[in-house]
């Protein structure tokens, strides 16, 4: 909101430097956006928070200055001379939609002479960057900038039947506004009409048909109250934001309506002449008297941590326009002024006192009691996961939670349900809340490829949004599921990424059992992005996630030139089997006895089957089994067969083992593999 330095001086003495004033105002809640010199005047731009519509006029700002500097505020009286003819004989007002327009007042001036505004008026408006139109329109703008109440002047003789009807629009009704554009009106908007047609949109903009022109002689001055929500919707719907709608949206002083109307007429008589009809047409609710608030002095210390002199408290509250009665030693009854709808409760008054008294008086070095705080297990483990991923050479990415529908459909193993969709896209077409992080990471990979970056190793830890799973929220129905995922994309192959995951799992819990199996049939349809080199990972038998190389088709869908492997893991499963604090295991005292085993098996036999047999029949000294290699070379094995090379180790806590002690175990393993899998020593 722009204010003029010279104009403010009409209401309050300004003898301080401009900079001192703007700093003081900033420290009282009006941020200073800038100052500029305008032809002998100074325009000060102040930011007014939405709870302070009273400061959207010079009087409101002057009042703040008067309070801050403890000076009197000079308020114009607004007592225009009235003629004899009663206004009721000249016009009438009917309000058909009191919800949208709780109060409407009209005054009439006849015989005004429309012309250019006097220099003082033009200068005032020029400082605020407002164009001068004519003397009457300028006065309505001037009064709005003085007290915040928007006003409108109609050419009375252009109103059919010379009367006003405030109503909702008729079906298909249109209005040509004073900007000479045509607007289509909709239900819920507040139309100012005459007997036949719309002549304005209440609180938003006037109509072209009834605007003041050089031929105008008789005026109807509107000063009214409109419902903030309706004004906001109308202004947004029609993209018609005006200084008027800006003020009505925030709610105005209900008692100021009458003052503004009188002030406007007073100034019109002064600059355009004419005769003011006697009285006012005033339709709708009269403002209710404000109720008193009990203010306990002790609340200042309780909230602010400092005490304020009771006399100063009374001075501040009274200067802001409150009526203050002393109830007893520690209590006041405070009746806020009509222009401060934001003052409703004791705490609101505490803020007023603090704001004017000055927050700089609150100390910044009090002793705040200590309290224990600790990291949750989850936080610790998530930190561990991040460290493991960076150690594995992955950079942490951060991608948007919403994706395009095409991206969303590319990979969705965790739910078959349609994704959640935002009503407005979060960014260019991305309106779908992601069900997997993988598509986002592949998109990031594509960005990197197009930038010519060679090594693209990314991980992200973020939530996916799963429409099917729900949990009860404390007080209001159920919300969709959100699950934290760890996802990766790498230029390495299946085994490189699987290896990184194995190392991660080992970092979280060296004893946890990680298995790679075929992707189960229920997940397979959602994995179209992946080539056959893929697997479902299980941690202690529970589904942990998926890992796989992206198929050629998948690469081309993401416009990727080079091969990549992706993985997505459920962080909750990682955490479930992780150890926050590991317990010491004594390292083995005696060396292990290691056997290399080379088995020839049929092609369908899986390593996991062999491993299972070894673990089952390895005997009490079995310490470990480790896959090494598979040979398929035709020089070594016939077609349909393969050779699997692996290592078995045996160990005893009692001493170094001899071959004699484990030969039996070794033989049994080979025998069982032969019997159950048809394996023979290679």
């Amino acid at each position: 909101m722009l204010v003029s330095w010279n104009w403010l001086k009409e209401y309050v003495v300004l003898d301080m430097p401009v900079e001192a004033l703007t700093t003081r105002l900033m420290m009282a809640g009006f941020n200073h956006e800038g100052t500029s010199d305008v032809e002998g005047d100074i325009a000060i731009d102040l930011e007014v928070t939405s709870n302070r519509p009273d400061a959207l006029g010079h009087l409101g700002v002057a009042r703040e200055i008067a309070v801050l500097y403890d000076r009197p505020l000079k308020m114009p009286l607004a007592r225009p001379a009235e003629g004899k003819t009663p206004v009721e004989k000249l016009t009438s007002v009917a309000v058909e939609c009191p919800d949208l327009c709780p109060r409407y007042t009209a005054r009439v001036i006849r015989g005004a002479k429309i012309g250019a505004s006097p220099a003082w008026l033009r200068r005032r408006l020029a400082t605020l960057g407002l164009k001068s139109i004519n003397n009457v329109v300028d006065v309505t703008n001037y009064v709005m900038m003085e007290c915040g109440q928007p006003l409108h002047a109609f050419d009375l003789n252009l109103l059919r039947e010379k009367r006003i009807v405030v109503r909702e629009p008729k079906r298909g009704e249109k209005l040509v506004a004073i900007d000479h554009k045509t607007y289509e009106l909709e239900p819920g908007m507040c139309v100012i009409a005459d007997a036949e047609r719309a002549v304005g949109l209440g609180g938003v903009m006037g109509g072209a048909d009834s605007e003041i022109s050089d031929k105008t002689t008789d005026l109807l001055i509107e000063s009214a109250q409109f419902a903030p929500v309706s004004i906001r919707n109308t202004a947004r719907r029609l993209k018609l934001h005006s200084p008027s709608s800006h003020r009505f949206e925030r709610g105005l002083d209900p008692e100021g309506i009458e003052w503004a109307s009188r002030r406007c007429c007073e100034l019109i008589l002064q600059v355009a002449g004419g005769e003011l009809a006697a009285g006012v047409i005033d339709v709708g609710q009269k403002p209710k008297a404000r109720e008193g608030i009990v203010f306990r002095h002790a609340q200042l210390k309780r909230m602010l941590g400092i005490d304020v002199d009771p006399a100063e408290v009374v001075r501040i509250l009274e200067a802001l326009g409150n009526r203050v009665n002393r109830l007893d030693a520690g209590r006041l009854e405070v009746v806020p002024p009509s222009w401060r709808a934001d003052l409703e409760r004791e705490i609101d008054l505490v803020e007023e006192v603090a704001r004017i008294h000055g927050y700089e008086k609150i100390p910044e070095d009090v002793q705040v009691p200590m309290a224990a705080s600790s990291k949750s297990d989850e936080e610790r483990l998530i930190g561990k996961i991040r460290r493991a991923m960076t150690a594995a050479g992955y950079n942490e990415a951060m991608t948007l939670s919403a994706v395009t529908p095409a991206l969303s459909d590319a990979f969705s193993p965790w739910t078959g349900r349609p994704p959640l969709v935002a009503q407005t896209p979060v960014i260019e077409n991305a309106d779908t809340l992601r069900r997997s992080l993988v598509p986002s990471l592949l998109a990031a990979r594509q960005t990197n490829e197009s930038l010519g970056n060679g090594r693209i190793e990314l991980f992200e830890m973020a939530r996916v949004y799963l429409p099917q799973e729900r949990f009860a929220s404390a007080s209001n129905g159920a919300l969709p599921g959100e699950e934290l995922m760890l996802s990766l994309t790498s230029g390495g192959d299946f085994f490189a990424v699987k290896g990184a995951i194995e190392a991660l799992v080992e970092a979280l819990n060296p004893a946890a059992r990680l298995e790679a199996r075929d992707v189960p049939s229920e997940l397979a349809p959602a994995c179209g992005l992946l080539s056959p080199r893929r697997a479902a990972l299980y941690l202690e038998g529970e589904l942990l996630g998926l890992v796989g190389e992206v198929s050629a088709d998948g690469l081309s869908r993401f416009d990727l030139r080079n091969a990549t492997t992706v993985a997505e893991l459920k962080v909750a499963v990682l955490l479930k089997f992780a150890q926050v604090v590991t317990k010491y295991q004594k390292p083995p005292e005696f060396p292990a006895m290691v056997y290399d085993v080379n088995l020839k098996v049929g092609e369908p036999v899986r390593w996991s089957a062999i491993e299972k047999i070894v673990r089952q029949h390895g005997g009490k000294h079995l310490a470990g089994v480790r896959f090494q290699e598979t040979y398929r070379s035709q020089k070594l094995v016939e077609e349909g067969k393969k050779k699997i090379l692996f290592q078995i180790s045996f160990r005893s806590p009692a001493g170094t083992l001899t071959h004699e002690q484990v030969n039996q175990d070794h033989a049994r393993i080979v025998e069982k593999c032969g019997k159950e899998l048809g394996a023979e020593l290679g």
């Binding site: 420290m27 709870n51 602010l304 603090a354 700089e360 939670s401 969709v421 979060v426 190793e457 030139r561």
Partner: protein, 357 residues
């Protein structure tokens, strides 16, 4: 084939080859890698060379030149690795000898080892944490020292937690559908009421207080969403950290003092705090917080005393308890910390950006 695609393949090839040569642990592994990349018959470089034939005439000189460069780079990476492996073998031999011998300088003549010599050491690829994560960790750590524990809540919220309980009534402009990311409602959401992506982390305050009696001393942090057009300083998704302390006898002096300790811990020096009055629905009084650092006031965030309506909404008696809350935009802190000027860089995930932190 387009020139750009060819060049990109070259780039990928050289990166992969260098990495393979560098990571080869011994001579045998190096030989395998050599065959893969430099093999005379079907090495990958041969395969790429074949692509040269498909390049437009006009682009050929550029493509050919780049190919030769890449080939030279790969070959030099190989010879560097070869040298390294030989040295490793030699070093192992030296070690073996030196174990036996009393002095190792008996084997390596003085001055024969030059540590400044090219090629450089075998460098590991260490991944980096995103700068936002790093900023969050720093802020969390400081607040942890001040006795604040981390609390968490959903990103998809209902109107009660995002608005109503935070003293933002239905008529408030902040609830306008165009100011928020409301979700389109499907059949399954019957009964839950409208849902939206949370516009602030204050929702977590409500969820924590609903389930706990004071004292409450928490921070909440995470992603929040507002329909801002993306530009250098705005992004529709960003991160917030929010602190809440509710107890008997909590005052604005406590708020100022905690924020000062926070700022001093962050900057590691004498910092002063300034409050400017402001307006937020969920606090009363509400202030903007500035901190003075080297004679400059820097905007820190918003704060205030928890509004009695918020305390009542979670079943706390505002006559018995009081509290303060503050919120800080993490992107802003992060950008100032790292001299970033465009918030969009944070979410582009260019590895040349990520690897700087």
């Amino acid at each position: 084939m387009a020139l750009s695609q060819f060049l990109s393949e070259l780039e990928a090839l050289v990166t992969a080859a260098e990495s393979a040569f560098q990571s080869a642990a011994d001579a045998a592994a190096l030989e395998t890698a050599r065959i893969e990349y430099l093999g005379a018959k079907s090495g990958r470089i041969k395969t790429v060379q074949k692509g040269l034939g498909g390049i437009d005439k006009t682009d050929k000189p550029v493509a050919g030149q780049r190919f030769n460069e890449v080939k030279a780079r790969i070959e030099s990476a190989f010879s560097a690795a070869q040298e390294r492996c030989q040295n490793a073998t030699a070093a192992a031999a030296v070690k073996a000898v030196s174990r036996k011998a009393e002095k190792s300088d008996a084997v390596i003549p003085p001055g024969a080892f030059d540590p400044s010599e090219s090629p450089p050491g075998c460098r590991l690829h260490l991944g980096r944490l995103h700068p936002i994560t790093q900023t969050i960790e720093t802020l969390k750590e400081i607040m942890g020292r001040l006795g604040f524990s981390v609390a968490d809540g959903p990103e998809i919220e209902d109107e009660w937690h995002n608005f109503q309980a935070l003293n933002i009534p239905a008529s408030h402009p902040a609830r306008d559908p165009l100011e928020n990311f409301y979700l389109s409602m499907a059949e399954e959401t019957s009964g839950a009421g409208p849902m939206l992506l949370r516009s602030q982390t204050s929702t977590v305050q409500i969820r924590v207080m609903e389930n706990r009696r004071p004292p409450v001393r928490i921070i909440a942090l995470g992603r929040v969403y507002r329909p801002d057009t993306a530009d250098a300083t705005h992004f529709p998704m960003f991160h917030q950290i929010e602190g809440l302390l509710v107890d008997r006898q909590v005052t604005m002096a406590d708020l100022k003092s905690v924020l000062r300790m926070f700022a001093m811990s962050y900057f590691g020096g004498e910092v002063h705090i300034r409050f400017r009055p402001s307006f937020f629905p969920f606090t009363e009084p509400s202030v903007e917080v500035d901190m003075q650092w080297h004679d400059r006031w820097i905007e820190m965030g918003g704060a205030g005393m928890v509004d009695p309506n918020v305390l009542r909404a979670v079943g706390y008696d505002p006559e018995e308890f009081s509290g303060f809350a503050f919120g800080i935009g993490i992107e802003r802190v992060c950008m100032r910390r790292h001299n970033l000027t465009d918030i969009r860089e944070l979410y582009k995930n260019d590895v040349r950006f990520l690897e700087q932190f």
